[in-house]
């Protein structure tokens, strides 16, 4: 059995027929070939698959593709606008907020919503905001600084 869905991903509209059990993350990676959204676990614990659905940060392994029918999705590939990096993308590069890069797209997408809700977070607020995302490389030290960089940039 397949179900038709229609959704907007990174500003482009797609229509597909998908199995009802297909996870949104599998739809993005396998059907749309947007492989910047990563899969790091099978328990919705690592946050590597975080994307924006209607502006909210969501772990795309917790949604079925059919649940995204009619939604507006942004993945890491859609974050830069007109070739200009998002302040968070820039922050991660400037402050060495990534090493292997695998958790990075999820971290950045989580931070997008974090700064949206709280444009001037304290270090503690940033650390709490990242609770749902694992990074095994950086010890989070420079991820915090990357987000502070973006917050300062957006302020100015």
């Amino acid at each position: 059995m397949v179900i038709p869905i229609k959704l907007t991903v990174n500003g482009k509209t797609y229509s597909h027929e998908v199995e009802p059990r297909m996870l949104l993350v599998h739809y993005l990676r396998e059907v749309l070939r947007l492989t910047g959204t990563h899969i790091g676990c099978d328990t919705s614990s690592c946050g590597a698959c975080t994307i924006l659905v209607d502006g909210k940060a969501v772990k795309s392994c917790t949604l079925l593709a059919v649940q995204a029918d009619g939604c507006e999705v942004t993945t890491i590939e859609g974050l830069a606008k007109n070739g200009e990096l998002h302040p968070l993308q820039e922050g991660f590069q400037e402050e060495h907020g990534l090493q292997c890069g695998f958790c990075t797209p999820g971290m950045i997408m989580t931070a997008v919503e974090l700064l949206h809700q709280n444009p001037h977070p304290s270090e503690d607020e940033i650390r709490h905001g990242l609770e749902g995302n694992y990074c095994r490389c950086t010890g989070y030290h420079n991820i915090v600084k990357s987000i502070q960089y973006a917050a300062n940039k957006q302020k100015s």
């Binding site: 910047g36 990563h38 991660f92 590069q93 400037e94 292997c100 695998f102 797209p105």
Partner: protein, 792 residues
């Protein structure tokens, strides 16, 4: 004109990662690709009576199913071990190979029994549920100290008492005598618990066989593609090495766990030939928990003897090292040559003996995990030091400073010969500790601690002063110690006709930032722009050869290979310049990216030299055209980074909750190419070491079931568990490699774990707590407090 070495250049590789354009193995889709799902044993120890694949094969979309019998019929023995450590009595190490699929007896939970290959991942997984395996469950053994007992279950029939090897290092008689004469002996019984590396990218492998070319390609999330090619082609599948192409594209973290040659790599490669289509396997996280090489797992009795002034007079260590069910690639080396040899630490201990028994159990294989052996050595030494200081009523920093090896640069003063085989290269151990003490303002901090205690708050300060051995070498020595491979590195530097430079390195970057650091070295030394250098790695056909990245070796060994090729370019360039500038070669100097005739303004630019080398119309007679040099570098010695780490914690004694308030590190990793990247390596290392101290443990029950094999159950540090770290460094160059570098990848992990545990013991010492076993979960800490109180 050193314009780039020592600068925090922003990483060139970041662009693809921050825009979602990284290319990890699971991102790759090949035409006609099929998907593998592996049926794994739910039991730790069981005989396979029957495997029925009929129902699975009948599912629409299933291509085929293979079992252990198919692998046996193909004559494939399994994955071998890469390091041999024999018994003390001369008997050969026991090394039963690890089958790609097991036909007779499974030996750990997760051992592979069958593989389903299908048109899609979901079909393969659905069908795998229909593979019926009839098991005869056997009693399992999990604890290494129990596995060596007479009546313990036997993991392998050919390994009596489950012993793979036993091993000793140092002067036993001298040490026993020193300990007998010691005024004070500090003893700790230590469980350095098993932890799981947990790179966030699960392992993945794609096998491909192209019949028309008789060519195999393996994409694999590995730290060392060339070694995988060698092991898989020559020792597992028996296929010609030159017909195997191994590619390790972007790899999402390794921490040691992606060094080893895994059964799945050979399995997908073999399957691809059988089904005549590419075969992809990607681990689910629960599979990673069960099958990635795990770390640590030592049961140790450690004793340190002191004279009445507090000088260390002897160290005696007995360890059972749990190796799991099979010997992973470097498993025997980790508890022996990477652990026993580090027991000198930073101290002048005159007598040391270490004894290690390597033991098979019904658990996942254990191998190198960030630090590999050195964290275990450091942990026992540094726990002993803080414990001894308490027992001797001395300050832990005073006790360390008193016993430190005096400073030596390895040039004017010789290297320091330890009691356990190694010769340290250079060091000023006092300097890092003194700097770390300055960073925390130690006297004030102790006062604050007293003040806190008077208010009923339990603050603790813990120390760790570590040394490690990186860039394990030279090949002849490691060969004598049992390595079945050389441990050199290769690098090819190719100057293109336009003066752009491509560098092909055998090191592999999976987060370390080689594409930036190596390019900084090349651009700096050749006097060209960073943008004009491209670093190529992770491809066995692009790169001539390589030994990969582990043991903090990439810059010390791989960087040195690059330096050798750069020297050859400058030398050949001088010949071309002498010809073009009509001067003798002795009068030519190379600086700032150009060759000049000394004392004149005549010069040849780097780009003009390159073009001349490839368009040799006006060219030195007898000189070969082209500008492309490959070099192999085999180091003269290990490198020895060291440092001082301090943890400050506060413990809630009502709940046992530990809060890490501050973490201070002053490390000396030799010269630094990119300070930003080195700091990042230290930060990440500290977090992993803190993880072992406070949170992480692979919990096996007595049946060999891993009871916490998911991110819901296995705790790793999250952002709000950690403070920002305070790091600084000292620089004592390595005297024996051209860049003077020592390695920074593992330092943080090695140093941090004992500092945190020492801090928690320090916090609770007024309550009578003398020792704690990791991880320091609230439950463990709370229980220790209750026990200490009831004994009071």
């Amino acid at each position: 004109m050193s314009k780039l070495i020592g600068k925090s250049v922003k990483r060139v590789e970041d662009k693809r990662f921050i825009t979602g354009k990284g290319r990890y193995t699971d991102d790759i889709v090949l035409p006609e690709m099929t998907y593998a799902y592996i049926v794994r044993s739910p039991y730790a120890h069981a005989r396979i009576k029957k495997v029925n694949t009929k129902e699975a094969e009948a599912i629409n979309g299933v291509v085929t199913v293979f079992t252990g019998k198919d692998i046996q019929a193909a004559g494939i023995n399994g994955v071998p071990c890469g390091w041999q450590v024999d018994f003390k009595n001369g008997d050969t190490m026991k090394e039963p190979p690890h089958p790609l699929l097991v036909a007779d007896k499974v030996r750990y939970m997760g051992d592979a029994v069958a593989v389903v290959i299908a048109e899609s991942y979901v079909i393969a997984k659905d069908a795998a549920e229909l593979v019926e395996v009839d098991y005869d469950v056997l009693e399992a053994v999990v604890d290494a100290s129990l596995a060596v007992k007479e009546n313990a279950p036997q993991v392998h029939e050919e390994a009596p008492k489950n012993m793979a090897f036993d091993w000793g290092l140092g002067d036993k008689d001298k040490t026993d005598k020193a300990m007998a004469q010691a005024q004070h002996i500090t003893t700790l019984n230590i469980i350095n618990q098993r932890v799981i590396p947990n790179a966030i990218e699960p392992r993945s492998a794609i096998g491909q066989y192209e019949e028309a070319y008789d060519k195999y390609t393996l994409y694999t999330s590995s730290q060392n593609p060339h070694l995988i090619r060698l092991l898989m082609s020559a020792f597992v599948l028996g296929i010609p090495e030159h017909k195997v192409h191994v590619i390790s594209p972007d790899v999402g973290g390794g921490f040691g766990s992606k060094i080893f040659h895994y059964t799945e790599e050979a399995l997908v490669t073999w399957c691809a030939k059988q089904v005549k289509r590419p075969v992809k396997w990607t681990a689910e996280r629960s599979e990673s928990f069960l099958t990635d090489g795990q770390g640590r797992d030592h049961i140790t009795k450690a004793e340190m003897g002191f004279d009445k002034e507090g000088n260390v007079v002897g160290l005696r260590v007995y360890t059972y090292a749990n190796l799991g069910a099979y010997l992973s690639t470097f498993a025997p080396c980790v508890p022996t040559y990477l652990h026993g040899t580090l027991l000198q630490g930073l101290y002048t201990t005159p007598a040391i003996y270490v004894d290690v028994t390597g033991v098979f159990t019904n658990t996942t294989p254990v191998d190198a995990y960030r630090g590999a052996g050195r964290p275990e050595a450091t942990y026992l030494l540094e726990r002993l030091m803080d414990t001894a200081a308490r027992e001797l009523n001395m300050d832990p920093t005073e006790l360390r400073l008193k016993n430190f090896i005096p400073p030596f640069d390895g040039l004017q003063q010789p290297g320091y010969q330890t009691q356990v085989a190694l010769q340290y290269d250079s060091g000023n151990y006092h300097a890092v500790l003194e700097r770390a003490l300055e960073m925390i303002d130690y006297p004030s901090l102790r006062k604050e601690q007293q003040h806190a205690l008077s208010q009923g708050r339990y603050v603790g300060i813990g120390f760790s002063t570590y040394i490690e051995a990186c860039g394990i070498a030279p090949s002849a020595v490691v060969g004598a110690l049992g390595a079945r491979a050389g441990l050199y590195e290769s690098a090819q530097v190719r100057v293109q006709p336009t003066g752009k430079v491509s560098v092909y390195v055998g090191s592999h970057s999976h987060g370390q930032g080689h594409e930036t650091t190596f390019a900084q070295v090349v651009a700096d030394k050749l006097g060209i722009n960073l943008e004009d250098v491209e670093i190529v790695h992770g491809d066995s056909e692009a790169v001539a050869f390589g030994m990969g990245t582990y043991g903090s070796r990439s810059l010390a060994v791989g960087g040195s290979a690059i330096m050798k090729s750069i020297d050859k370019i400058i030398e050949k360039g001088s010949k071309i310049a002498a010809h073009k500038l009509e001067a003798s070669e002795e009068d030519i100097a190379f600086e700032d990216g150009k060759w000049t005739v000394k004392g004149t303004d005549k010069s040849l630019s780097f780009a003009d030299m390159a073009l001349t080398a490839y368009v040799p119309h006006d060219y030195p007679a007898g000189l070969e055209p082209g500008m492309d040099f490959s070099s192999f570098y085999d180091p003269a010695n290990f490198t020895y980074p060291y440092g001082a780490h301090i943890a400050v914690v506060e413990v809630d004694t009502d709940t046992g909750q530990v809060q890490l308030k501050r973490f201070i590190a002053c490390d000396d990793v030799g010269n630094v190419i990119n300070p930003m990247i080195v700091d990042g390596q230290i930060h990440g290392g500290i977090a992993q070491g803190v993880g072992q101290a406070l949170f992480e443990v692979a919990s096996y029950d007595e049946n060999g079931q891993l009871t916490n094999g998911s991110y819901m159950d296995y705790t790793m540090p999250r952002a709000d568990d950690l403070p920002s770290f305070e790091v600084d460094r000292k620089v004592t160059p390595c005297p024996h490699n051209p860049l003077g570098v020592k390695g920074a990848g593992e330092a943080g992990t090695i140093g941090s774990t004992p500092a945190v545990v020492n801090a928690v013991v320090d916090a609770l010492s007024s309550l009578g707590v003398k020792d704690l076993q990791m991880p320091l979960t609230p439950e463990n800490v709370w229980t220790a407090i209750q026990q200490a109180q009831s004994e009071h």
